[in-house]
């Protein structure tokens, strides 16, 4: 099976979708002729023409607003916001328009759009190229939110998102684009070509939205993670020797609660990990759900490891990033509680 980087997998997902359905159009800032600043759309304009893949003005509310109109017409736009940090001008269009169009019109109009955006830090991007705004989307009724952690899933989830009849936010952890980064920023990253999840089948396949994956089976403690934090948690488990069960949520909404509950009931312990800031983060929702559904099986309080409640700093990037040492400490404390 061919091995691909996450960038190539994402590009392949759009390529396959555009090839199968002429209603799929791709646009955003720099995505046309140039192929995107992360090269995720490279070659799509040459292959499908300027009507199907084109450059947009620097105007995120315009990109999402026009995509909503296109979806109402009957197309299936898959648009790129260059960095998740740039999505705020489009937030009104996403939350009050895309999310509610089906509901408010009772199905008269629908909004099958995908909004891709690179998320997370680890590239010295400072406060405006590093954010993880997933909780701002999971809090909105009517959106679906997906965070892939590897090339295989990225392709299958993106095809599923494009085929989904409702708006999907597709957050791409940019630190994973070229390899399974585990938070050890001072070590070389294994390229996807040497990782089994870098295996990406040709052609069409989907990974269903709303289904988590168990990345590491274990019996001592459940770790709930997504995106980059899946590999950070794996490193922490290896380095502490704790037999952690690591669940990669893949889709935050709809959430695969059954997989979470079954695991925590088995292990009796739970650590929630994300790169986004702690307060009112998606970890708060996860921790509340675990408490509501698994309270009588818990041997220890649910722990959260997250970004500090500060803007993402530049020079102090690795003090901010919740790396394997911090996750490992939380695992040990949860085991000792």
């Amino acid at each position: 099976m061919p091995r691909r980087t996450m960038i190539e997998a994402i590009r392949d997902a759009m390529d396959v979708s555009m090839g199968r359905d002429e209603k799929v159009v791709v646009f955003g800032e720099d995505v046309g002729f140039f192929g995107g600043v992360f090269r995720c759309t490279q070659g799509l304009q040459a292959k499908y023409g300027k009507s199907r893949c084109f450059d947009a003005p620097i105007n995120e509310s315009g990109i999402v607003g026009s995509a909503i109109g296109m979806a109402a017409y009957g197309l299936k736009p898959c648009v790129e916001i260059q960095f998740a940090d740039y999505m705020y001008p489009a937030y009104d269009q996403l939350t009050q328009e895309a999310a509610r169009l089906r509901y408010r019109s009772n199905g008269d109009f629908t909004c099958p759009i995908v909004v891709r955006m690179p998320t997370g830090g680890g590239i010295f991007g400072g406060q405006t190229h590093s954010q993880s705004p997933e909780a701002l989307f999971t809090h909105v009724s009517g959106l679906k939110t997906v965070v892939p952690s590897n090339p295989h899933d990225a392709k299958g989830l993106l095809i599923a998102a494009i085929e989904d009849p409702d708006p999907v936010i597709f957050l791409e952890p940019k630190r994973l684009y070229n390899g399974p980064f585990d938070g050890h920023h001072d070590r070389p990253v294994t390229p996807w070509s040497k990782h089994e999840l870098g295996e990406v089948a040709d052609g069409h396949y989907t990974v269903p939205l709303g289904k988590a994956a168990i990345r590491r089976a274990g019996s001592a403690v459940t770790v709930l993670a997504y995106g980059t934090m899946v590999y950070v948690a794996q490193a922490a488990a290896e380095e502490t020797g704790i037999d952690a069960e690591i669940i990669d949520l893949r889709t935050l909404l709809p959430l695969d609660l059954d997989t979470i509950v079954a695991s925590v009931k088995k292990t009796g312990r739970c650590v929630v990990v994300h790169e986004a800031t702690l307060t009112s983060g998606f970890g708060a929702e996860l921790s509340a759900l675990v408490q509501e559904n698994c309270f009588y099986h818990l041997e220890a309080p649910v722990a959260r490891v997250a970004g500090w409640d500060t803007p993402y700093p530049h020079a102090q990037e690795w003090d901010y990033f919740p790396g394997p040492a911090r996750v490992g400490r939380a695992l040990i404390e949860t085991m000792e509680a």
């Binding site: 947009a56 315009g62 109109g69 296109m70 199905g107």
Partner: protein, 410 residues
């Protein structure tokens, strides 16, 4: 030079406030028939002055004059009059129903009926409007059932939107009427996206975007003009300048640009101003703009100069911020009276027939209201179910919503 270094803050003010005498002498109005009608493929740079004039067809004597006249038959004009009269009667009944507690909220069109009623007749089947809350004439003029509109206003058991939307936030794909958001200006760029999609699909349908004078200040208005200009989208960009954004006079949104139409000039978009109280002028300009869109000539910006004779909504009292008699002083008159006088002048209408039509329309509206009320009103009779609240958010209900619906016991 004494105060050369002292800056002064400028806040525009309307000419007159309550207690003052209405004065529209500053509103320059071109005489009917005086503005030329260029070819639709005109170079936009040569018609920039049209953004500062006003296209008018009906003169003071009720005659249709000039190059924009002559597009509509007597039958079509009589139909247009009936649409405007129907909308006004519908509004009056629904405004009263709101006062009687049968619904929570209402917004009427008083004085602006020509804009949406005439515009609708310039579109073809399949075209799509992205309206604001004051274009129900698009539905009336397209034959959308009044009972269905009232069911929506009452949020009753027959409400096609299942009680999820504020009154008058209609939606009808079939009648080319995009779901109203109530969230200002967002629909403007969506209309451009819809038009882009039609062009991408090599279709023949066009879109119409709608916005009020006040909301042109929103960034989505700018987004729409950028996208429409860049991609030459087949869209008519309508700005309804009814002088008032709730209590804020149009000068606060307009700033120093002179007119709202002038906003289009920097984008290279042909930009026209039209007498919004002149049914014939609105229709003629809309037809011109729609034809440009359909012939791949791109967007047109049209400013309809009109006056909001009524309150902003059922929650508003305009006497607090403008003279009570300002509406009577409005120099462009009333759209229904003007078309009525034109038709009388043509010899195809009379005061008697007008009074008879008013009575017939009132009967029709009351009959529709009775039928709608048999399905319930907001606080009495049949209403959408609690289950309807949970359904229809996603194509397939996700597990967390299913759990919440069970908790709610439905």
């Amino acid at each position: 030079m004494a105060d050369a270094g002292m800056l002064r803050f400028h806040v525009p003010e309307p000419e007159v406030r309550p207690g003052g005498t209405p004065d529209f002498s500053n509103v320059t109005i071109a005489s009917a028939g005086s503005v030329p009608r260029p070819d639709i493929d005109v170079d936009p740079r040569t018609i920039r002055d049209m953004a500062f004039s006003i296209i008018r067809v009906l003169n003071r004597d009720g005659e249709a004059v000039g190059p924009w006249a002559g597009l509509l038959s007597h039958e079509e004009l009589l139909e247009g009059l009936r649409h405007m009269m129907t909308l006004r009667t519908f509004d009056a009944r629904m405004q009263m129903a709101q006062r009687q507690g049968k619904t929570s909220f209402y917004m009427q069109h008083l004085g602006e009926e020509a804009v949406s009623c005439a515009f609708r007749k310039a579109l073809a089947p399949g075209d799509m409007n992205f309206p604001t809350y004051r274009q129900a004439g698009l539905l009336i003029a397209d034959g959308y059932p009044m009972v269905t509109m009232m069911n929506q206003i009452y949020s009753n058991e027959a409400d096609p939107l299942k009680g999820r939307q504020l009154p008058i936030m209609y939606s009808s794909k079939e009648h080319g009427f995009f779901s109203i958001s109530g969230n200002l200006a967002t629909q403007y760029i969506q209309a451009v996206g819809w038009a882009m999609a039609s062009a991408i699909s090599n279709d023949s349908k066009i879109a119409a975007a709608w916005i009020g004078d006040g909301s042109t200040a929103e960034s989505d208005f700018h987004s729409a003009l950028v996208f429409a200009s860049t991609y030459k989208a087949p869209v008519v960009l309508n700005v309804v300048n009814n002088q008032w954004a709730i209590s804020t006079f149009q000068g606060i949104a307009r700033g120093g640009s002179g007119t709202f139409a002038a906003r289009g000039l920097g984008f290279g978009i042909p930009s026209l101003r039209v007498d919004g109280n002149d049914y014939l002028a609105v229709h003629a300009v809309a037809k011109w703009a729609a034809e440009r869109a359909r012939k791949n000539l791109g967007p047109t910006l049209v400013e309809y100069v009109t006056y909001r004779a009524g309150a902003h909504s059922s929650s508003d009292d305009p006497s607090a911020y403008r003279p009570k008699t300002e509406s009577d002083a409005w120099p462009l008159g009333d759209p229904i009276v003007r078309l009525k006088n034109h038709l009388i002048g043509l010899g195809v209408w009379s005061d008697e027939r007008h009074a008879q039509a008013e009575a017939e329309i009132l009967d029709t509206v009351i009959a529709a209201q009775k039928e709608a009320e048999s399905h319930g009103t907001l606080h009495a009779g049949g209403k959408p179910s609690t289950r309807d609240m949970f359904e229809g958010l996603y194509a397939e209900m996700p597990p967390h919503l299913r759990r919440q619906r069970q908790q709610a016991g439905v």
